[in-house]
Amino acid sequence: MLIVKDIQVYYGAIHALHGISFEVQQGEIVTLIGANGAGKSTVLKTISGLLRAKSGDVVYTGKSLRNVDPHNIVKLGLAQVPEGRRIFQQMTVLENLEMGAFIRNDRAEIEAGFEQVFQSFPRLKERRKQLAGTLSGGEQQMLAMGRAMMSKPQLLMLDEPSMGLSPILVNEIFSIIAQVHQSGTTVLLVEQNARMALSIAHRAYVLETGRIVKSGDAKELMDDDAIRKAYLGH
């Protein structure tokens, strides 16, 4: 479904990704794990077109995304929940969800989307008229996910959805990710919380300073000694 081929990405003179290759099959949950600054967010931003690879390619359902603008990449069925939520603080919860549905035009479908999001996140329903900036961190994460779901993506990319959340909320967010996956969405999950990520994913790639240093079945990586030491804390 998604093939990332040997991408080299720079921020000016800073060489952030040194030839990254991986793929995501339809129906999978794939996770990219790695420490701070490994390049995880850079990978997602390159896929969604916010950054451009100097060389290499991103191919989605057989189509190269090299020259596709970010707003058109969304239309192909890729949605990203960015790191730090990046919700529109000065807009209401409902308006944020409407923006998530920007590429859709069928009013009935959009309404159905709201209902679906409110079913997953009942708390957003109560707060739908509230400015998004007044939500708690956890609620903002829910909104960011709900907003991405509004575009009805085939592939949902999440950048550290557990960041800054309490363990209970992390569990809640991960069970929603599982639900979204169950309903037929392919998931590419970036996480520093390797334990949670590996427990939900089918396959994983480990990123270190802009390179993939390990990949494989998530369960196997969970038992890998080096991984346990570096990312699971024992």
Partner: protein
């Protein structure tokens, strides 16, 4: 003149400042650029209206004025959108100062083109409205004043409805707040920016025609003063915040009018700039501004 009359005069000129200020503030909100050429869009609007009204002599004057308004809006919108595409868009991802200097360049370019076409001398703006003043109770208000305030307020309400109720209006707010996140929603940022320049320029065109109806002398550098005052109004109200520009415009107009009436007309401009300095010292983000000081 009574105090109330001074206030009403202030609201008259203030509503024009507000219309122009909206263009500054919307553009700043979305591309973080002080568009120094915005004042000259007023000049473009006034000259366009002047040409149309001079050509359309056969029609009743108010029909001519109406057509002139529409023509000015069309021309100014085109100028605004083209200027953004040609001059600012290529600099979108460079340092801000580059676009700022370019805006000053565009401003000078427009003024010089106007001088080439219309000469550097002032020209009379055709007087279109010869309606007696309207009596409200004890007071009489000039018809132009009434028209200006009404049209401006309607345009402002329309703009508020646009940015809160329409899809593209909401997209404008989204792009203003977080351009990358907006792109991730599938919003075309370039289109949204063009729409913003279009609306800002159309409002400036209306401001231009109303301004020139009140001060019927036009000259290629005429945009500088109302442009500067509208910019101050935008900063005063909180740049990037639409209601701030409206409030700032009205406050500026009233302050100017009261100074002219009770102190001296020579002090009008000084007071206006004085207010700006005070506000910037007390609350740098402006009266309704949200973000703490963001340096330009």
């Amino acid at each position: 003149m009574t105090f109330v009359n001074q206030i009403i005069n202030g609201l008259h000129v203030g509503s024009i400042y507000a219309l122009i200020a909206l263009g500054y503030t919307m553009v700043y909100g979305i591309v973080k650029l002080i568009n120094f050429a915005h004042g000259d869009i007023i000049m473009v609007g006034s000259y366009t209206a002047m040409v149309i009204m001079t050509e359309l002599t056969g029609l009743p004057l108010w029909v001519g004025l109406l057509i002139a308004m529409l023509a000015a809006m069309l021309v100014c919108t085109t100028f605004g959108v083209v200027i953004e595409r040609v001059a600012y868009k290529p600099l979108r991802n460079t340092q801000r100062i580059a676009a700022l200097i370019t805006a000053i360049g565009v401003s000078l370019l427009l003024q010089n083109i106007a001088q080439l076409i219309f000469s550097p001398n002032s020209l009379p703006f055709p007087v279109a409205i010869r309606v007696p003043p309207v009596a409200i109770g004890e007071m009489t208000i000039s018809f132009i004043t009434l028209l200006t305030i009404t049209v401006s307020v309607l345009l402002m309400l329309g703009l508020q409805a646009f940015v809160h109720k329409t899809k593209i209006g909401k997209a404008m707010r989204a792009v203003s707040e977080d351009r990358d996140a907006a792109q991730l929603m599938g919003i075309n940022v370039s289109t949204t920016i063009s729409v913003t320049f279009a609306i800002g320029s159309a409002l400036a065109a209306m401001g231009a025609v109303l301004y020139s109806t009140a001060y019927p002398i036009i000259i290629p550098t005429m945009g500088a003063m109302p442009g500067l005052k509208a910019f101050i109004a935008a900063v005063l109200g909180g740049i990037g915040v639409l209601p701030g520009a409206m409030l700032g415009g009205f406050l500026m107009g009233v302050a100017e009018s009261l100074t002219n009436g009770y102190i001296s007309s020579q002090w009008g401009d000084a007071v206006v700039f004085g207010i700006l300095i005070v506000v910037l010292l007390v609350k740098p983000s402006g009266i309704l501004g949200r973000r703490t000081s963001e340096k330009v």
